[in-house]
Amino acid sequence: MHLDHTHDESAAVSADAHRADGTRRALRIGLGGPVGSGKTATVAALCRLLRDELSLAVVTNDIYTREDAEFLLREAVLPPERITAVETGACPHTAIRDDISANLEAVEDLEDEVGPLDLVLVESGGDNLTATFSRGLVDAQIFVIDVAGGDDIPRKGGPGVTTADLLVVNKTDLAPYVGSDLARMAADAKAQRAELPVVFQSLRSDEHVSAVAEWVREQLAAWAGAPAK
């Protein structure tokens, strides 16, 4: 081959903890969950809360539009160059689990262009209860459901509810209006998830997204202190 070597190193492959230039890459946290459960609103709230203490960026995976990315841009939660949309060909779960290459490229391009970054949030397109992120793409994942989607979702389980590193039950302010039993949801979630954490939140309350942000800070501290993969 007659390739001239302009780079001594070649690009990282997937979950490698280090970037091609030897620096440690950003922590990647995935947010998945059904359509309308509040993934984008949670991402927006996290960005507003964390943007002054961390260097962060967001990758969205819309199903057929750029609406999630555009919402974040319109809300100006981050400068536009820190938000990238990935197109998923009508299969949002494929892009975060079975074929993660487009998302990996989006994450790496963000690190190249606006880095160094501490944290990249990867938001999946709204999907079903079986959608989970590959460990080749993210280091930890949050599954977001809401009380209006039915209070039997924690009982039904599925890989998202059962295995996500953090389960967020969103829109608790709506519980009285949709007849959802929060205590039952908490008990069912505990039964499905054993010791894995669950956060109940309403983005309309004073506590807002603070519990999720605290969990994110813990993940970051663990990532910073962990030996390289």
Partner: protein, 224 residues
Amino acid sequence: MSRAALLVLADGRFPAGGHAHSGGAEAAVKAGRITGARSLEEFCRGRLHTTGAVSAALAGAAALGVDPVALDEAADARTPSVALRTAARKLGRQLLRAARVAWPSPELDALAARFPKGAHQPVVLGTAARAAGLGAEDAAHCAAYENVSGPATAVVRLLSLDPFEATAVLARLAPDMDKVARKAAEAARRARDEGPETLPAASAPLLEVGAEGHAGWDVRLFAS
């Protein structure tokens, strides 16, 4: 050569980003040119004998070890649409990532270092085939097959087309794919001996025009 390695590389589940691309089918569906199995077959046959033949020859040449930088230039020259050039490089970058894990090789590493944002997908495909111990005709078969399997799968999602009918379209195109791959392998050997400028340059203007329009849509299911 390993026949099984060819199956791994040609598998639609090979994680190289193809699932998000329709190969021009989304634009053709919107324009009313694909409405069912029959028109899907016509679309695929046209695509196979134009861009498919070019992609297969490029992949075959890369599998023979022809300079990938020269082949990438040849691919650029044969792809007038900016949107299609962008899509081809994106897919090339994604394929390279998967191939480097599947068949680690210094040639794939060198390709990644030379093209950090991606080389044209058929060039990567041929280099990956080479790393997998496959030959020019294998790489050409792979390129020809995915040239039509991509649109067929996309149309199942876009039109809710019966998946059995879509698969039957691919089965009926199999003899054409064999023919295209054989000719592409010949073209690849000629490119090795006489230079990449001898590679075929068939084009499908409607695909180019459709891709440019599609890239500007606000709402779409597929990236291309």
